[in-house]
Point group: C2
Chain length 349, copies 2
Amino acid sequence: MRTKLSEIAQLANVSIATASYVVNGKSEAKGISEATKRRVLEIARQQGYVPNRTARFLKKGRYHLIALMAPHISDFYAGLLQRIEQLAEARDYQIIFSSTFDSVEREATYLNSLIARRIDGLIILPVDIRAPHLKLLARNRVPTVFFRRRASSTAPQKFMTFNDFEVGRLAAAHLIERGCRRVAFLSAPIYVYHEYLKIIHEARAQGCCAALQEAGLPFDDSHVLLIERSDPNNNAEIADAVIDRRFDGIVSIADDIMVHVVGVLRERGVPLPEAVKAVGCNNTELAHYCVPSLSSVELPRAQLGEAMTEALFRMIDNEVQESDEVLLPPFVVERDSTALDPAALAKGP
Amino acid sequence: MRTKLSEIAQLANVSIATASYVVNGKSEAKGISEATKRRVLEIARQQGYVPNRTARFLKKGRYHLIALMAPHISDFYAGLLQRIEQLAEARDYQIIFSSTFDSVEREATYLNSLIARRIDGLIILPVDIRAPHLKLLARNRVPTVFFRRRASSTAPQKFMTFNDFEVGRLAAAHLIERGCRRVAFLSAPIYVYHEYLKIIHEARAQGCCAALQEAGLPFDDSHVLLIERSDPNNNAEIADAVIDRRFDGIVSIADDIMVHVVGVLRERGVPLPEAVKAVGCNNTELAHYCVPSLSSVELPRAQLGEAMTEALFRMIDNEVQESDEVLLPPFVVERDSTALDPAALAKGP
DNA sequence: CTGTTAGCGCTTTCAG
DNA sequence: CTGAAAGCGCTAACAG
């Protein structure tokens, strides 16, 4: 069976307290003799002693556990999780991931489990900011970083999101700078099954619009193309619209739908980026891998992960409320789909 | 501050034991009166009592925590994590993810933290099966599911992997069935920085070879095309080779490199799937999204996640050694890149 | 039907 | 320099 501290103490002929001091490296401070120290350490080693940190956590009231709750593990959240995990590990914290699948019930259940486990902090994209179970956070004083949607809470908290207006603006500005004059905005209503997604889409559309107007270029509702993803012929219609209406630039709400449309355009013989330039959003792996590779607006994920983790630990350490918002600035990642010099295409992604 | 059991016991004028029974739904078994039960429950409710399960775990010696250790969170491991998390949640277990980044040192450190936390089980792709820290698993009797590489261990354990020979065989067989006669095998040496990856690649190549030979078709080393991913012109050379040597089918070790090559082929005016058919491996998102969408061999991830979780819980429940191996069978997901009827292309992915 | 009590494994104050 | 003992929050004999 697993060795415990009391056994080590017994084998080393010291008290359990002494053993504790030694294995915790406090022998100096406590003035334990070199001899006893070595004896204890040697016995611990040969017994393969691994202290039960949970017992320690219980005693200390800190559990060295934080949780990340998100709708599901997409590419985006996987990257975030990875970054958070790395930073947390440096402080000897582990991280629990929970998918809510956009269900308030699941969220409530999971949150309860997590609080019962006494997580020291939480990073969450809440399903519904009005959900009553979020009050548990305040009541249990769980330091929380809200992402995308903020729930009112009296617990230590911080709110972070991306500047989506800027996402749209940058995408359009990039096309304008590359010489586009008739820019379409590609969106997909099917994405918008959740209120906060709708807000994101609208902000991006507005940003796009603002950039165009600022440049004195036309933009109105007729420039918005909607893909109904459940309808497989829809890509073709969109491509036709781009050709018929002589758009020379497309901003898409997301990379994946753009890749479809670009694929069809090329099949129709429209050269990209020569005749039409395209820029997506979210800078997914797909944008990097498709042919031609797709320029895309990056939401700074690594930076987000860092900001979240740092804010969370600051709250964990000080139990201090950090009520201000953080808006993270996006930036364009240029690839072949908006290249000026066609020769650049040769080099591949 | 957070309410604890003793406080609600006091407020309800019952002993702490009675309160415990009530909040744990054991009032029937213990014959607690309806009145006291309601009183306790009511007070617990209005105090917002959330039991400290960690204390309970300590008492019971079960911590309701399992860990997943993998090189990093790729698409693949994200999906796996998601599935495991779902199944674990149903048993009120949470899951900790740790990335090893292929470093033995990291693995050792993380494993120590996890064992110190007394995880009840582990799913791991070990960095190096000879690493001494893996002995901790046996010594601490941590039920373990090994993935891809198996370390010898006396702890309860199970080994799972995919049948990679079959992956290659299926891919080639699919092309043959679609009428291909000259099949190339696309590989990328840069992938093979890790021994187990080399084994996977070779198994796939052999499977591919076996299928072709069985069908009486030629296959030798000259049919193997190697992409050096660090060299951007390499895609073009590969495409040239395919054209010059009149290959009519390509099996790729992975989807991403295939997508590149397919992209270049189309630029060269080679119609896919009419002139050349292509099938990748791993069935990544990319295969689904690219144009034309790429047929790919799926490694049954969901099934893997389920098998792993079930085996792990069986071991956790029975502390029983499950030493046999499980080989999961892959299958082909057909998409446009191997379509027989070009009309099928119209429908999109 | 309810309460007392001895732990789970570890930390830490306080005495010696 | 070392040890006894209380306690983190909860569970579960055992006693009444």
